[in-house]
């Protein structure tokens, strides 16, 4: 069970409280986790990744286990602690703007 922590605005949009728990079949990667997340919460489609290019939106970052995973391949395996559910996968909105 993978735990995903969404930024506040996306929790509101998806109408969830706290962490989101996802069952991911096969290898857990950024792409596979986001695919499952967007299937379960279709309103998040386009809010984290561009609809067409599937690129991470510029003001979004992915953190886990005290590391910034944003620039890793979307198909790279996530850390074991994330796969085991002992550490969450953070989707973070940049601290910017007003």
């Amino acid at each position: 069970m993978i735990r995903v922590v969404l930024p506040a605005h996306l929790r509101t949009l998806a109408r969830v409280d706290g962490d989101v728990k996802l069952e991911v079949q096969g290898e857990a990667t950024q792409r596979s986790v986001l695919d499952v997340l967007e299937t379960k919460y279709p309103m998040l489609q386009g809010a984290i990744r561009d609809h067409v290019t599937q690129q991470r939106r510029p003001y979004i970052r992915f953190f886990a286990c005290s590391e910034d995973l944003s620039h890793q391949s979307p198909d790279a395996p996530l850390p074991d602690q994330v796969v085991a559910g002992t550490e969450p996968f953070f989707i973070v909105g940049a601290i910017a703007g007003g």
Binding site: P7, H9, L10, L13, M43, Q45, G46, A47, I48, D50, H51, V52, R57, Y59, I60, G93, A94, A96, G97
Partner: protein, 371 residues
Amino acid sequence: MSKVRVLVGTRKGAFVLTSDGKREKWEVSGPHFGGWEIYHIKGSPADPNRLYASQCSGWFGQQVQRSDDGGGTWTPVGNKFVYDGIPGTHQWYDGTAHPWEFKRVWHFEPSLTDPDTVYAGVEDAALFRSSDGGLNWQELAGLRGHGSGPRWQPGAGGMCLHTVILDPTDPRRIFIAISAAGAFRTDDGGGTWQPINKGLYSQYIPDPTAEVGHCVHHVAMHPGRPGVLFMQKHWDVMRSDNAGESWQEVSGNLPTDFGFVIDVHAHEPETIYVVPIKSDSEHFPPDAKLRVYRSKTGGNEWEPLTKGLPQSNCYVNVLRDAMAVDSLDECGVYFGTTGGQVYASADAGDSWTPIVRDLPAVLSVEVQTLA
């Protein structure tokens, strides 16, 4: 007794303001979607409980929210706006070719007859349509495919399609306006488009009378007289009496003819409203006095309307989609400011009262007249 519902989009959320037909006491609901930019909210003329809201953010992109109960509850619907075919390029600010990129929805225009059909004017400029209540969107690509498309260039606010007007007498005719390409019209339901900019004169472009390139800020039409259009251009207030085939200036005695909003009285097709703004480099009212100007002669002769509006130290702006009129017997006029005030007049502009004073900067104002 009739009611009015004012739909307000702001930089940090949406607000719904309701009153009875007297328009004296108001209930304020919101913020809806707190923290998000709400560029526009508009109700369906065919079902006033059906609302569409454009919700966007620099972080999370575009969302489209739909309400089926007049703004009480909302549901996110489709937000996938994909240009038809290979998007191609338009001009960037420096004149170089720049690929078309979707950024946000500036304006929703629901069908006059079908609550599930709605048009979306977007940045980078294009027109989309949904016929399933906003779940799916298809581009009317004939507009962007007009031969002039590669020459379109953004205005300071981005290359936005901000005005969509549906002709109530001819479902195939639609008017749109783009900053800074100009106005266009289709007579075949969106398949083909023609620029309708003859008579516009824009000193800030290389050819002041060019077919395209004019920074049109807003266009308004009285539904009972769909061949007559009124335009607030970057500079100049214009009118057309032939569905945009040609335009003539009607700025007349305005203190400045720069501005963003323009609207038409619900029952008097020759009565129009603008809010003059000092200049394109100083976006606030001239002399720091917030004045709506009304013409009862379709332009040229204008009178300032000041009762109830601040007449000193006022430095707000009124953005292009932030004025609306209701259709009660005595026409109500509403506008919102970048200072967060929404002003209402229940007497066609003779006097004004703020409904709210301290909202986030107002991006858009629409009003529904409810039975």
